[in-house]
Symmetry: C2
DNA sequence: GGCTGTGAAAGGCTTCACAGCT
DNA sequence: AGCTGTGAAGCCTTTCACAGCC
């Protein structure tokens, strides 16, 4: 399986908790909307509502950035937009490459929110030679062969992988070797990267599966015997590993319905 | 109405921690790959490596599901695939609708991993009348007017929103009113839903911004005394709010520009 | 009076390390 | 001997609640 390990270094960047960092973009978006409506100031309560979090959390989050509010008044919208943008590193423009210009890659290239805030699509790269030169979202697609050159010439440090799963690790390795140190992965694979490289993943089917889990729970609130049609468990466990849960005897028909857990 | 609040109920589902639920799909994917290679059993160490987590975490996660391993041996791959699938609710087929068939919606409709594991695209819905009837990924697009009917006739409880931000809340309200109780939101907006409805969001620009934050950190590793030059803040803070940071422990003198980035 | 900023408490998640089963 | 399952410890995150400032 490819190289390195998937180390996640320390998670506490200098002083701002990771959980807070993950919410800053949310605040920024809400603030930008307020700014466009020329709202001058906003209270933690209002802003929290707009961002979908609670106000105590928001205030705590902001406290890691500094004391940017005014007691009795609230936060100055413009000022806070600037401070958060700066903290997130959006006062500069990050050139980004997208590798894999299929349906998804094209969708990403066309995504407006991209260019608007701190990011610029520096290049689109695909392995299909017949795509080369064809413009997508106004940008001509380039061939994978030139990947290293493209990265270097544009000083790209952020790469987006939208290839099929099978190609992702290889593309990742090349991106990293060429100098990319942050990767956003849309391919349904675990990527291995050396220390110092950040990977974030976006995975449709994982999200759906998480929803399905909760959905199932809502539906099975009363858990009637699951109608006969029980898909046969693929095989008995190891040999005769008597698996039980809790202490009581399981009411499970043939064994495994984990019974409702005693809270 | 853009009702309710974005309550996140309790986060501890029945008995399985949310963080564990979020990793089950990862384990499932790794196990499925092993299964395809006809690997009969796997140790926590091996499986953890394949899923990109550490083995203690994996064992703890599995312990919430029950005792499905065999000491001294490991886990039976097929059996575990079945157990996790069942736990996630993937032994049944979930009909899903995708609303908003633009670039992204089309990409999602074409996404293979969709149909493969427990999900079925029941319908594609778009507000553009000229799209109606046009097949995308082999499925004819239907008009938004019929949304409620489509949801009901297909017994859909999971909806995917891939519309522009402006339409998302309205679409969400209609989905929920029609009976959808789980939503995967790709639009860059905070959705308000009543209690009992789950929302997960996937947001490209948030992910990129988080990466940019860390990227900026990496670049500014040595933080030399910050000279003068700093991009003018959009306006002074409120009036003369003297903002300071920490108790003087901060290496940052007192200005806020965290050093310019070379890179 | 109103609202921020923040210690302190509570809760959740991860990691450790080892008892216990095969 | 090997590997799982799990209490206990440690860390991170969220929430509470109120002092402090406008």
């Amino acid at each position: 399986m490819a190289t390195g390990r998937t180390h996640r270094p320390a998670t506490r960047s200098r002083g701002i908790p990771e959980a807070t960092v993950a919410r800053l973009p949310l605040y920024l978006r809400a603030l930008t909307a307020l700014s466009e409506r020329s709202v001058p100031t906003v209270s933690s309560e209002e802003l929290a509502a707009a961002a979908g979090v609670n106000s105590a959390k928001l205030r705590k989050d902001f406290s890691y950035l500094g004391s940017y509010g005014t007691r009795g008044v609230g936060y100055d919208v413009e000022y806070l937009v600037y401070q958060i943008s700066r903290e997130l590193g959006l006062t500069q423009d990050w050139p980004v490459v997208i590798v894999g210009i299929g349906n998804l890659g094209a969708a990403l290239a066309n995504y407006g929110g991209f260019a608007s805030r701190g990011f610029r699509v520096a290049a689109l790269i695909d392995a299909d030679p017949s795509m080369a030169g064809k413009p997508v979202a106004g940008i001509p697609v380039q061939h994978t062969d030139d990947l290293e050159m493209i990265i270097e010439e544009n000083g790209v440090s952020i790469g987006v992988i939208a290839t099929p799963a099978g190609a992702a690790q290889q593309v990742c390795d090349r991106l990293v070797a060429a100098g990319v140190t942050s990767i956003l992965n849309f391919a349904p694979t675990v990527l291995s990267v050396p220390d110092g490289v950040d990977v974030r993943k976006v995975d449709l089917s994982i999200e759906l599966q998480i929803l399905a889990f909760h959905e199932q729970r809502k539906a099975g609130e009363e858990t009637p015997g699951e109608g006969g049609a029980d898909t046969t468990p693929p095989a008995a466990p190891p040999a005769a590993a008597v698996r039980r849960r809790g202490e009581g005897t399981e009411p499970g028909p043939d064994g495994d319905v984990p019974a409702v857990m005693p809270a």
